[in-house]
Symmetry: C2
Subunit: 301 residues, 2 copies
DNA sequence: TGACTCTATGGAAGTGCTTCCATGAAAGTA
DNA sequence: TACTTTCATGGAAGCACTTCCATAGAGTCA
């Protein structure tokens, strides 16, 4: 049996309250006493029980993340940022994987349950109104990343503006025939970033007085390969685009590959703009996420 | 304040012990009573406190994973497998990211600490003897995945044999000049899979009576790009190899790219064999990991 | 030097569960 | 009908902390 706070107290010849104070860096302990307690802890190899601490504090000291485990760099980047922020605050990070819409629902129910977490971060999945009601009922703070719901805090790069900027960039370069390669606008998980970027793309075209050509608009599975196929189709058009805005880096790479396969070169023959998932994610995860976490911590106090 | 087990007991007009039994599916409860308790739980919106449960049981009901968060597909695949297995047992999965050797050490100390987890899974990082002593001192079960230590359980695909098989395959195809593109054999994290695959490669060559040419052996950073550079160097050799065994899929892709850049084709001009991270990982994560988890659970009881 | 404040410290009461042990009633046996 | 068994159930004692409250001794000020 591992030693408890009582063992330490006895050994250091102090009360348990004092040991607890030492453990929590309370200033209300004389230096000599603190040293004695610390020595006792060391000698006994004592480790405080996290569970007991949590019961007593009535906090879980953990935050949960629900996310689809994709290999996408953006996923890993965000997770990395979250992990860093969480670790810093000596919280634990509990992750849940969601791979199917069914599992999604189960997860939304189970993860916040049993007061297991003080806060929840949901990545790339948009909860329904019902889900949100449920969260509120449990009064658990929820933050959305790369997803949206009117009633919840969220951390998203402004994808609409991002899409608009990317497209404007191409327009400034003199392009008039700009295609868009992105994900399905609607999908069972409720991803929205690609849709937003498309909206930004559309806005930019309209503002510039350019046509929004349906044949330049490709939406499909988020993959290297699919983007490649789309690009080939675009190049086969009687009037192929002179530039492509790809909704993610993964897709941009696919476009580039297709272009190269044709013996063409970018950007001489055709320009490609990607959406820098990785940069964006680093920003997202490391700096912006910071605040919601902090906030979640505060709210849970 | 959320309702406690006492509130439920009172409402259902039973003792707290009975409520606890209902919560834990004990058979020692009359059906009618169980129904009453369940109703009370429902009406009160009661959620048992996980922390209290854990303190009482003196288990944490959580398992930790220490891993380097790389974008590598293998990482995500393994994590996915672990998550699935953990979720199934209603344990929590606490992840820790390790990105530098320093953080590695800190993590090895902190993660198992404070009885926060019942078991630890370490991915792709080989602990030192000292680390292992520490784990044993804490009497925390540790399982290694894609890493190794004589005193610890581990789950690894046999990389030596895998490397040997891949190389034999190339030999059977008639190749005699086979190069190896892999990671640094030694690295600060203690990754070993590439080294093992190299050993398999070497064994296969020796068994076949082929030369182990130092100029055919490339080791460097694990990246698409580095592999591409290596391949170009290999192709520039006065006597270039006719086949390449790449230690991972990522690297194999780099090789293929370099080959294509030269206007060559695979497998006509030069064969490339990768190491199917993803397949391997799926196997690893989903089926093999299963057992150690179960075991870890058992041992922690 | 006495009254008063301040500080380090201990005791004890929570925190919300699990579970051992005791109990009374129903059921089974002779 | 008397006497075990069995079984559902409640009470209370943990589990390992935190923290409020009380206290004794040491300072402080007049």
């Amino acid at each position: 049996m591992s030693p408890t706070i009582y063992d330490v107290a006895e050994r250091a010849d102090v009360g348990i309250a004092t040991v607890s104070r030492v453990l929590n860096d309370s200033p209300r302990v004389r230096e000599t006493t603190r040293a004695r307690v610390l020595a006792a802890i060391e000698e006994l190899g004592y480790r405080p029980s996290a569970s007991a601490r949590r019961t007593s504090l009535r906090k879980t000291l953990a935050i949960g993340v629900i996310a689809p485990f994709f290999t996408r760099p953006s996923f890993v980047e965000r997770l990395r940022g979250i992990e860093a922020a969480v670790a810093e605050r000596e919280f634990d990070l509990i992750v849940h994987n969601v791979e199917s819409p069914e599992k999604r629902d189960a997860c939304f129910r189970k993860a916040p349950r049993r007061q297991r977490v003080d806060g929840l971060i949901i990545m790339s999945l948009s909860p329904t109104d019902e889900d949100v009601r449920y969260f509120q009922e449990l009064s658990i703070p929820v933050v959305l990343v790369d997803a949206r719901h009117p009633a919840l805090n969220r951390v998203v790069v402004d994808d609409v503006t991002g899409g608009e900027l990317a497209t404007q960039h191409l327009i400034k370069l003199g392009h008039e025939r700009i295609a868009f390669v992105g994900d399905h606008l609607e999908n069972p998980f409720g991803f929205i970033s690609s849709r937003d970027r498309f909206n930004g793309y559309r806005t930019a075209l309209i503002k510039a007085g350019l046509d929004l050509r349906p044949d330049y608009h490709c939406q499909g599975e988020h993959s290297h390969f699919q983007a490649q196929v789309f690009t080939e189709e675009l190049l086969d058009l009687p009037e192929p685009p002179t530039a492509i805005f790809a909704s993610s880096d993964t897709q941009a790479l696919g476009c580039l590959e297709a272009i190269r396969k044709r013996g063409l070169h970018s950007p001489e023959d055709i320009s490609v703009v990607g959406y820098d998932d990785i940069e964006v994610a680093a920003y997202l995860g490391l700096s912006t996420i910071h605040q919601p976490l902090y906030e979640a911590g505060l709210r849970s106090v």
